[in-house]
Symmetry: C2
Subunit: 139 residues, 2 copies
DNA sequence: CTTGAAGCTCTAGTCGCTATAGCAATTAAA
DNA sequence: TTTAATTGCTATAGCGACTAGAGCTTCAAG
């Protein structure tokens, strides 16, 4: 019951070079090898890689994922760290949303500041890109 | 009326190595030099750098900024390109917001799935990070 | 047994900076 | 005028999280 790196890739949606990269970075344990030196993964590796994939999809940086993996190796530890990581990431995501909403407002203003068909000199879009003073808010 | 690279940095908020980087990348023209080989910028460079800064703050990638600068050198061209860049960026920002809102929802669920004070084995946070099947939506 | 897909390692490139090292020039104070 | 502090110079390497390519070897199906 073992998988080639390609099997793992198909089952998780993680690309082959990325799997090798995760191994190099220590997120995945180095697997056994075939006689011809090819990687042979077990189902625990499949699970681990699925975990990493989901965390990455949720935007967690690799150090946070490392911490979570370390934590899962020590089942008796309290779960504060996992909670903190989730909350930190939630906070970070909310900050990014807030920032992007400001950008959205300014870009909407900029993109609609040109009312038709004319040349660069007359166009407000370029002026708006250049001049922060025209903005409605900080961003 | 010329500025050192430090003057330019203080006036625009762009760090000194970043200014040199912009010059290397061709966003800023190579300025004149002092007798001792130090950069001496003119106020047109200050303006240009302010333009770049504002565009970067709005999230434009450098190739887009290059296009806008090229455009501003040809005042007789139609302004379609500038409009397209603004609209593309607006679209990209809206997509990122939509994505981040999904992440926010999942992370909220994950971060609140732990009701107190226990160990890793009993904790839902780690399970939730590992299992996309528990998610309420795609992300 | 052959062939084509898949795997291997190693290196370099992506983007937009940022940091460091080891110098040289400028500016202000003593 | 000398000195010291600050600022500037070039060149190189590093960040995060991959991705692409070269050149080779192994595997699995027919």
């Amino acid at each position: 019951m073992d998988f080639s790196i390609g099997d793992l890739s198909r089952r998780t949606g993680v690309k082959v070079p990325t799997i090798r990269y995760y191994e190099k970075e220590g997120l995945l344990e180095a697997p056994l090898r075939s006689e011809g030196n090819q990687r042979r993964f077990r189902s625990s590796d499949l699970e681990r890689l699925g975990f990493i994939k989901h965390c990455r999809d949720l935007g967690l940086p690799m150090p946070a994922i490392r911490d979570l993996i370390d934590l899962s190796q020590h089942p008796d530890k309290p779960c504060e760290t996992a909670n903190r990581i989730a909350e930190d990431q939630l906070k970070a995501v909310r900050q990014r949303i807030a920032h992007l909403r400001k950008l959205e407002a300014e870009l909407k203003r900029i993109a609609t500041s040109c009312e038709g068909d004319h040349t660069v000199t007359e166009c407000n879009v370029l002026k708006a890109f250049g001049d922060h003073g025209l903005c409605l808010q900080e961003h």
